[in-house]
Amino acid sequence: MTDLPKGESAKKLGLVIDLDTCVGCHACAVACKEWNSGGIAGPLPDHDPYGAAPHGVWFNRVHSFEAGEGTEGRTVHFPRSCLHCETPACVTVCPTGASYKRASDGIVLVDEDKCIGCKLCSWACPYGAREFDDDAGVMKKCTLCVDRIYNETIPEAERIPACVSTCPAGARHFGDLGDASSKVSQLVAARGGFDLMPEMGYQPTNKYLPPRRKTSAPSCSAAPEPAPASIESRFLKWVDRVLSR
């Protein structure tokens, strides 16, 4: 059923993405593509992979933006993927029941055997989280690596989403955002984590941490002129005198 689970789900698994730390290396996007090409949502199409115009389905896209002007301006790398919203219209618009939100942990998934490929869910997502698989004729999206996080056949340390596991900057965090005492919730509280496009009313689970404010460095003109080193050696003093004539 594409009705949403009744009441708020106690557990809200999701990601916290630190826009201060992200270096825009796209490793999360590549790791996501790699895992999900073979995971439950795979294979993911790759058309013309070595040609002039390669294109295919990715669940994670890393944008880079500039914000602000002059010395206050910042370059911000911005990974964009499914936010596993609390009130996801992508689920309720689905005519077949293929799209659903899990009551147990809040993950939004697509049942590929029920999807008719009408694409309405991709129109209903403000964030562009869903991409159409034109090989299979069905919609695909981020699974929050549901086939990793509960996978008892892999070491426990690896039971986190591929994007989080691979991030070399530690800019991605995974956890239960429904639990106020969890590490991710505390991180969001400490750093002022925010929702994307809150005005749409989708109540995203994933949170973004803002770039930290710049610490004010002294400007160039205010810095003291470096003092000439005093010369200790007698010989050098003599050279200095001779050359200064």
Binding site: M1, T2, D3, L4, L19, H26, A29, A53, H55, V57, W58, R61, H63, S64, F65, E66, A67, E69, E72, G73, R74, T75, V76, F78, R80, A89, V91, T92, V93, C94, P95, T96, G97, K114, C115, I116, G117, C118, K119, L120, S122, W123, A124, C125, P126, Y127, G128, E131, F132, D133, D134, G137, V138, F194, L196, M197, P198, E199, M200, Y208
Partner: protein, 315 residues
């Protein structure tokens, strides 16, 4: 938004067919139904053919058409599912309405019951189709009250034009059919102009700053794209039409969808015989052509919030 021809044909044709079936049912309930089998049955079948062609065309839009039956299941939450259920419900009643013309009794109670059901079902179906678009918050140019009102009026107007064309084609003078078409066209064009005025002036629903949450730093602009080639999002949601083309296409839609058909209907009202029949048929045909342009624009002018991540400032 990418204007998919299958969906454009679907909404225009099924809208016209449902409008026509609605007006036929109103005529039956009002007791003003022309007596011959041929007019009634063929007009009802034209309506069903338009609805069926539209539904078939929308099937081509699916990635997995063989699973389309699943779309009847989620009517509790999904406007698209509701549309499927209502479309399927209209068909048997429409066929029964057509069959009624071959019966002996023009006042048979069951026939009036069928007509009564269709008077409710047809506009409900058009409204539900429009709500698929009007319910989408990420597309502010659809997510407004003008959308369902415009869809309902276009269905009524094009249904009336086809009904009048059928009446004149089968030799009935029926001036009220012509006058009704003119009145519906005037109201519909007023609503469409209101819709365009609304989308041209509406405040943005979201901006690049709210989409990224970086507004506190300042104006947000793209630096590096996430991918070098087009992806599904850009193809499906990134379609944009230049403002000058939009202006030209709006004028084309107004001329072929409203002005020219109205002139043909006026000619049909004044003329008689085959000239009137030809004018009424031309009115219906040009109107459908104009509505296809209007519907193409409805998609092409709509903007999706995902484009805020790809360089659009506000949506």
């Amino acid at each position: 938004m990418h204007p998919a021809y299958s969906v454009i044909f679907f909404t225009v044709l099924s809208g016209a067919g449902l409008g026509l079936l609605f007006l036929l049912s109103v005529m039956i309930l009002a007791g003003h139904v022309p007596g011959t089998d041929l007019f009634g049955a063929s007009t009802a079948l034209i309506a069903l053919a338009l609805i069926g062609a539209g539904a078939l065309s929308s099937g081509f839009h699916l990635g997995r058409p063989e699973r389309a039956w699943r779309a009847f299941s989620q009517w509790r939450s999904s406007w698209l599912s509701r549309e499927g259920v209502l479309m399927a419900a209209v068909m048997p009643f429409g066929l029964a309405l057509a069959a009624g013309w071959f019966g002996e009794d023009r006042a048979a109670p069951w026939w009036r019951v069928v007509a009564g059901i269709l008077v409710v079902l047809c506009p409900l179906t058009v409204w539900v189709t429009a709500m698929i678009y009007a319910s989408l918050k990420p597309v502010p140019r659809w997510h407004n009250a003008w959308t369902p009102v415009a869809h309902l009026l276009f269905a009524l107007m094009s249904g009336a034009a086809i009904a009048y064309a059928c009446l004149r084609g089968f030799g009935y003078v029926a001036p009220p059919g012509g006058y009704a078409t003119l009145v519906f066209a005037v109201v519909a064009v007023a609503v469409k102009l209101g819709y365009w005025r609304h989308i041209d002036r509406a405040h943005p629903a979201a901006t690049a700053e709210t989409a990224t949450g970086l507004g506190a730093i300042g104006k947000v602009r793209p630096l590096d794209p996430p991918h070098t080639e087009e992806n599904y999002l850009l193809k499906e949601m990134g379609f944009r039409i230049a403002r000058k083309h939009a202006g030209k296409l709006r004028r084309i839609a107004l001329i072929y969808g409203f002005a020219l058909p109205a002139a043909f209907v006026a000619l049909a009202l004044a003329a008689s015989g085959w000239i009137a029949a030809l004018a009424a048929i031309l009115a219906a045909v040009t109107m459908l052509g104009g509505l296809l342009v209007e519907r193409w624009l409805f998609f092409a002018e709509a903007r999706h919030t995902v484009m805020l991540y790809y360089g659009t400032d506000a949506v």
